[in-house]
Structures are given as C-alpha cells and as structure tokens.
C-alpha cells in the first residue's frame, strides 16, 4: 500500500537522507523494496515481527512489508527480552525479521525481473504501547488509519523533516508517513548520537520541519546549535503542551508554523491545535473538530475518531457504547478553553489527596533556572505516598545543590497546596527520556 502511494511522488525530490548522508530517491527505494520482497517471498500474506534497531532500515522494512504481509508487529528498539517474548507469543508470528534482513548493498545485485504484480493486502500493524509497569498492549492500526491526517504535498519547497522519535513509535510513524506521503524528505539522525550531535546533523541537512515532545523542545532550545535551525514547521505533542513552551518555541522560531498534535498510540491522531494557545477551544466539545467528536466524562477526555472503531470489549482501551475512546487524560474546562491536567493513572495519592505529577512539574518548570522536571510519588509511612521531584537545571544556573533545592521547594509552596509540594527535590544532570521523547517517571508505589 505505502509503496504504491509512494510512487505518486515527484521523482526529483529525495525521500530519505540517512545518518551518514546517504540519499535515497523514490525510484531507488522502489527497486530496493522489490528486491527485498523477493528476498522475503515466503512471508507474503503472513504474520511478521519486525525487530530492527536501525530507524533507517526500519523505514525500508515498513515499505517492504506493508501491503505484502498480512500482519506486522513492530517491536520498539530496546524492548526487554521478556516483553518481546510475551508480545510475540501472543501474536504467533510466521517470521521474525531484524536489521540484517534489510541491510546489505542498497543496489541489488540481481537485475530487476518484472514478475507478476504482488496482490496488495491491507496489512494490519500491531504497535506496542510504551507501558511502564506491565507488558505492553498491542494496538491495531493499518497504514490508511495511521496516515489519516497526513497533509498533501504543500506548494513550494518540500519540507525536510527531522526524525527525533524512534520511527516505530506512534509519533515517529507520523513523521515517517507525513514526509513519505506529503512529498517531503526525511532526515535520519545517527541513532547513538548525543542530543547536540543530532541537532547539528539536522541543521547541516537543512531540516525545516521538526516534530518533538515538549521535553525534547526544551532540550533543543538549550542547545546552542539550535540557532542554526531554520524551521518552518514545528509540531509538539506527547506530553502536556503548556503556554510557556509554546511562547518560547514561537519566539525562537518566529517564521515557523507551530502545531500541537494531540495523539496517542491507542487513539491515533485526535486533533491538532494551531492557534498558539495551550489546551483547545471549549467549542470543540459541542461541535467536534476535524470529524472527531469529543466529550468529558469523569474528568477525562473521550474521543470518537472516524475510522477508529474499537469495541467496548476490545480490552485494549476503555471504549463506551457509542465508540468514544477514553484517552486517560484529565482535563479541566477553564472559561472558553479546555486544559490538560495530566494522565489519569499517574496520580500520586498523598494521604487521600490526589496530585498529578504534571501539575507539580509545570510549577517547577516555571522557575527560571529549571530546564526539565519530573515528579513522582515516593513511599511514605504516614501518608502512603509523598511527592518528590527531580530537576535538571539550565546551563549556567548550576549553583549550590542544597540552596537551589530549598529555593525550589519554597517556590512550589508559594504556588501549590502543601500536600502537592515535593518533600524532596533532587538535582540531576539530565532526566531519563524514553524513545518516545517523554520523561520516564519512576514506577509508582501505591502504599
């Protein structure tokens, strides 16, 4: 399917630029994929597991296997063996493919023999969620549903999209599909590289469009080389997108169009917010947006998405009788705006009082010295849990550790109810960010 859709691209614009600068055009990719399909002919119409570590090789694997095999399970690089075994056994694969199965000489040695056309299949894609405390759930998609919100080629110069997410992640797949089907170029930064090295690569390859989480954006904005980026399209998503972040991004990249994409692996793309304000307009609750209907129930946001019909008994996510999916995001109506408060299941319980880690993090992030913040619940013998936080400071703000920690706690006390104030703020050099670009909070103890 994707291969067919790729064929309608302009042939003079590259499709992919690899980590080492290697350029691949649409006709070259077509030859490559055709050769790969003959190499893996036995897997046509079958169930395949893809376990690639290289995003660049995964890209060609996706084009090879979509429309070719019946079902495709994408394993995120770095998934622990036990989780791999668990999801694979449930899936029941006919074959497992790795980097080696897609590597090798990019110009196939055998001449391309035109055989019978491959009958196109609608391949079912199974994407694991990034579960932190349990085996990942497999979320079904197909290339059509995944590219539902892809924008057609824009007039003018095509975008050079930077891949900051792991390509197998939902957000990474969106960038992959948007660049492929939207007539743009996809830039693959070297995977083991440091953050500044990735930013350098992107600026050297002429990146004009970048999609990343708020955490990534904060780090990008603190990287000196980011001044060389000439971005025209900025997408933010995956974590709460707060107003200070939107303002910061817009002031640093004044020519860029800034879009907040609200999406998840379970729901797919929900909607996009382009007005530069955090949250989304209240009116969308009544009128819907982009053919998506939404409602608030029990404090969380539920979405009904065209083409995304999951049954109430699917066991993957909570779905009601009308087909609305529970996003698990807590929201609050604040005059004419709906604001995001945090994840439903991340709540910290301090002696019966509920605290959202995101709320605490937003306050910490408001302090001028703070670059990144992560709040979670620590076990406490009196209250069950108590809020603690880790903070990474902006460059140039490193000061005596105990002083800044006290100062941050005081800062929080001025803005939050006492039970929400972190009882401990630890300074760290950097915060762990997972392959989806989101801060990984430590697992919650629940009493």
């Amino acid at each position: 399917m994707l291969l067919e859709r790729m064929k309608s691209r302009r042939v003079d614009i590259p499709v992919w630029i690899g980590p080492d600068g290697k350029i691949l055009s649409a006709p070259e990719i077509e030859v490559l994929v055709t050769a790969l399909r003959s190499r893996h002919a036995g897997l046509q119409g079958r169930k395949v597991v893809l376990r690639c570590n290289s995003d660049f090789l995964t890209a060609r694997a996706l084009l090879t296997l979509d429309g070719f095999c019946a079902e495709l399970l994408l394993i995120h690089p770095g998934t622990p063996e036990s989780d791999c075994a668990a999801v694979e056994s449930g899936f029941g694969p006919d074959g497992v493919l790795t980097d080696a199965d897609f590597a090798g000489d990019d110009s196939p040695p055998v001449p391309h023999v035109k055989g019978a056309a491959v009958p196109e299949t609608v391949t079912k894609w199974m994407i694991p969620t990034s579960g932190t405390t349990r085996t990942p759930r497999l979320i079904p998609h197909d290339s059509a549903s995944l590219s539902r919100t892809v924008k057609s080629p824009a007039a003018g110069l095509p975008h050079h999209w930077g891949l900051m997410y792991g390509i197998t992640r939902f957000a990474g797949l969106q960038v992959f599909l948007q660049s492929l089907l939207g007539g743009g170029v996809l830039l693959f930064p070297p995977s083991g590289a440091s953050f500044p090295e990735k930013v350098r690569y992107l600026s050297e390859c002429g990146c004009t469009a970048l999609s990343a989480t708020p955490t990534h954006w904060r780090k990008i904005l603190m990287t000196p080389l980011s001044e060389r980026l000439r971005l025209q399209q900025i997408t933010v998503g995956g974590e709460i997108v707060d107003q200070p972040l939107l303002d910061l991004v817009k002031s640093r990249f004044p020519e860029a169009r800034v879009v907040h994409i609200y999406a998840s692996t379970e729901t797919g793309v929900g909607f996009t917010v382009k007005d530069g304000l955090s949250g989304f307009p209240c009116s969308w609750l009544a009128d819907g947006i982009e053919n998506v209907r939404m409602k608030i129930h029990d404090g969380t946001l539920w979405l009904k998405i065209p083409g995304r019909t999951l049954s109430p008994t699917c066991g993957i996510v909570e779905v009601d009788e009308e087909g609305y999916i529970n996003t698990g995001d807590l929201v609050l109506v604040d005059s004419d705006r709906v604001r995001f408060l945090g994840r439903m299941n991340g709540t910290i319980n301090v002696g019966g009082n509920k605290v959202s880690p995101e709320e605490v993090e937003q306050v910490l992030l408001a302090h001028p010295a703070v670059l990144l913040a992560s709040a979670h619940g620590a076990r406490n013998p009196i209250s069950g849990q108590i809020v603690v936080a880790e903070v990474a400071l902006k460059p140039g703000h490193h000061t005596v550790a105990t002083e800044i920690e006290k100062e941050l706690r005081f800062f929080c006390r001025e803005r939050l109810d006492l039970y929400k104030v972190p009882a401990r703020v630890t300074l760290v050099d950097d915060l762990t960010v997972n392959e989806s670009g989101k801060i990984t909070r430590r697992p919650q103890w629940t009493g």
Partner: protein, 84 residues
C-alpha cells in the same frame, strides 16, 4: 539526633504555617503539638533526606510513636551504623 529532629520538626511547622502548641519535651504527645499528619509525612521525608534512612520502612511491625521522645527513639534505634 534529638537536635536534628527538633530542627527539622520546626522547619516543617513553619512550612505549614503552624504554631507549636506544646513544648517539645520527651513526653509531648505528637498529635497535640499542632503538627498534622501531612506535616509528619513531610518530616519523615525530610529526615530521610538528611539522615539517609526511614526507620518506619525498616520496622518489622508497624509502630507509631505517641510522644516526641518515642519519635526520637525510633530514629536512634534504627540508625544504620556509622551514620550521622
């Protein structure tokens, strides 16, 4: 040890804008001091940061101190060796 705990106790009281209702002698009943349960939770967390251990999590049987003296004693009893 008593001095450390006293200092942290007063610090938490000021965070909560609470006033000390009784003198903090060994016999002072904790629940009558003006410190509420959230305050105690914060105190235990702060002492863990300062001392490096939480005696309540080291106990086999949960034991809740009644007086200030009891509280200090718990910290002394469960103090890991060479730690102060």
């Amino acid at each position: 040890m008593r001095e450390i705990i006293l200092k942290e106790f007063m610090d938490v009281m000021s965070q909560a804008n609470a006033t000390l209702r009784t003198e903090l002698s060994d016999e002072a009943v904790l629940l009558e001091t003006g410190m509420d349960s959230l305050g105690f939770a914060i105190l235990v967390a702060q002492l863990e940061t300062k001392l490096g251990y939480d005696p309540f999590s080291l106990m086999d049987q949960p034991y809740y101190p009644v007086t200030f003296g009891d509280f200090v004693q718990i910290y002394e009893r469960y103090r890991p060796d060479g730690n102060l």
